[in-house]
Amino acid sequence: MKRRDALSQIGSVLGLASLGTAANAQTESKESWEQVVAAAKKEGLVVWSFFGAPGAATERQAREFEQLYGIRVELAPARTGDFEARWNAERAAGKASIDIRSSGSPENRRLAARGLDQSFGTLPAAAEPGVPWIIDPLVDVKAGNGHTLMTSAGGYFILVNNRLCPPEKGPRSYKELEDPKYKGLIVLSEPIGPSPGSRWAAYAWKAYGDDHLRKVIDNVKALTRAEIEAPKQIARGEYGIFIHPTQVGAADIWKLPKPHPFRLVVPEDGVMLLTGGTSLLKDAPHPNAARVFMNYTLTKSAQQINADDPGGPFIRKDVTPKVPELAHFTTAKPFPNNPDTYEFGSKLFFEWSAKAEPYLKAAGLKK
């Protein structure tokens, strides 16, 4: 009994000690974070490059961040190629102007694989206890795969025109798309670069193999590079099935009066998920402001701003999406072997999606 009490006492002491250590660490961490914030305020500016145009969410986040910290956010929207061309030239001339880059995670992971990002240290928001993350924001960092911070998640639908392809005719899954009854109905996002079509080709090939890829491509009527326009073409009845919009792409046509002339199919064989990443770039001129901003993007407030956009991507489950039907990625079953990993994003994405190339040529869709 005495022995047990003694052990208990030792335990308590150790426990207290460890609590003390944690408290100390927290205090230290808090102090060092305060130093980061102070340094960030001194820098006074963060240049944020992201894929696409400034939208309601990016602008609201920038404004809120400016109000919270008094640090100006300069928005530098750019497509992947434009961003890389500009940033490479600037770095070569010693004039790097961009601090952070947000895009689909394959782009960030490619930056990481080439050593073009840098550590953002500890972010308090990433370590916030009890947050129901859809995916751990530090999944790559913890695995030692570069320094990509995951800041959003999303997923694809199969988009179908109700007149050309009534509900009873399907499709209900990606697998069914190989059925010859869909011949001449499908418009496919061209598998080129990091397009949605490339992701479909990579995932579908991995799950179902060459024959499936060939059969679906045989059913394709046209390729498109206008992924934003394609959902409207489905709604207008130009094509029957679109492979495949994200919830962001589908959000546009969601504005149409109901009943909708289209339907969003959440595939029975699983949702192809994608994550959005943010990288603190090598040679960033305002690294501390960048860290504070990256931390901010994970906060509930910033994530709620994302979720306030219909179809906006987010990474925390504790926010309320504006249109729940467009937030299928939070609960749906992931596609088989959903390979949204570092290795996939940095390398395999392009190797696997290239499997579609010969079938596209054979089907006369590509030269």
């Binding site: 929207p77 500009r86 490479n88 670069g193 498109t224 326009e229 546009d252 030269k367």
Partner: protein, 581 residues
Amino acid sequence: MATAEGSIGHRAEPARGPRSRRSLRPEALLPLALTVLVALLVLYPLGMVVFGTFWSAAPGQPGWLTLENWSTVLSDPATYEVLLTSLAIAVPRTVLALVLATAFAWCIARTNTPGKRLLEGLLVFMFFLPELPWVLAWMLLGAPNVGLLSQWLGALVPGGEGLIDVYSYGGLIVLGAARSAPVLFLFILPALLAMDATLEEAARMAGATAWRTLWRINFPLLLPALLASGILSFVVAMESFELPQLLGTPANIFVFTTRIYDLAYGGHVANFGAAMVLALILLGLTGSLIVVQWRLLRGRAYTTVSGRGFKAQPLDLGSGRWIAFGAILAFFVIFGALPFIVLLLNSFMELSGFISWEMLTTTHWRNALGRDDVLKSITDTLMVGVTAATLGVVVSIFISYVVTRTGWAGRKVLDMMAWAPWAIPGLVMSLGFLWAFVWLPIYGTLWVVVLALVARGLPVASRFFTSTMVQLSAELEESARVHGGSWLRTFLRIWLPLLRPAVVGAWILLFVIAVRVLDIVILLAGPGVRMLSVDIFLWTVTGRQEAGSVLALIQTVLVIVGYGVARLLARRALQQPGQHR
């Protein structure tokens, strides 16, 4: 009529004087100074592009010298396929655009077609419409079966809904020609206006019909302008990107520029080197056309404006004048008004492309007009547009003068250099500008965008002035010099007044290009420098087409205002005796 000596135009004999004094004159320093300036604006960025083809990575990045980019592109059968496809589209597109533009300009400049001012204004207005929203509007209008035009045709004619298909070779050629014709019209019109009408009158008095006069008198005299416009139009067709990207790809039609895009942006890692090789092949192709132009014009005279003075008498087309009026108006309604109305309606719709009362909203306009960044885009774009157009006109006039009016040995090199920025697709040239200008202290400011736009506008403006200058007799300049006028005074008092219509036309062209162009500025306009064209592009391609439509309309208003101001300032010059329509 003066006779040219071995080259286009007739050169004025420089006034004699002591050698040491002559070498310090502006006209002696001008060619060299221009060559240095154009080399900085053109050769330096072009050199970066050429270097990029032999470097294993992007310039400035670690790499090594290699021939791999060249061997990869030249051994790839796709290179030749896309070259043939591009030619199959560019040649008929150019011919169609040239025929339309010449016919329109002739009707307006030389005949009694009614409503000439209105028609000219409508054609100029078409030139102002931004390309990307225009193409998107045509996707909505001309998609087979479901396009608005297709549905209207289907309601009129059984099976009519399948008659129009913009996703085809025909669609690319017709829409491309419709896009080019108003630009070419602006090129050809001043040349026709400057043409001495007494030649036509002499032909008519000799019993020639209107068509015979057109063919035997107008056409040969217009040859410099037609060749310059034709080559320009061909180059524009070869480097057209938005049309083939949006309308060609779904129809499995791939051209040079979409191939360049694939190489630069479509792979795992950007292959800029291979993309640049393709761009240089295109430069070689179009550069050879310039040589052809020189050969065709060598030893011929095109002078029609001399010291005699002239008065243009419009040709009477009889009842045909209403047919001409109707044809130009129909062209405007189909290719200008319809897409513009779609653009306007889109800006008031909840969702672009779905036009109905229940989708009506003013949100996009309120959002756009209430944003500080849109205001900054407007002011930056205006400042860049006015500065680039003004500098571009000044530099281009002098280039054209040196090329057509001096015997300077390097004038052909200067002419070729000035041409190059147009002959390389903007996607690639913008990389050249970026890599060249990033080292300059002005990088990151409006000035770097201005420099790139001046370079980009040189071919257009210098062609514009060259085709007009070769029509002007050297005797005007010679008489001024004989009477003791200095070179500068002669230039300001003789040349400039005669060139005023061309100056106004070129300024407007350069202003519109500067305000509208996307590919050249997209890499240079970064944080701190905002351009409307970049905003329109980003908003349009990322799902905010309605907001993009608002900006496109604001951009259209800007160029109309610029055009109006330029015309107002030049009104007196345009109404000089002998240049009435």
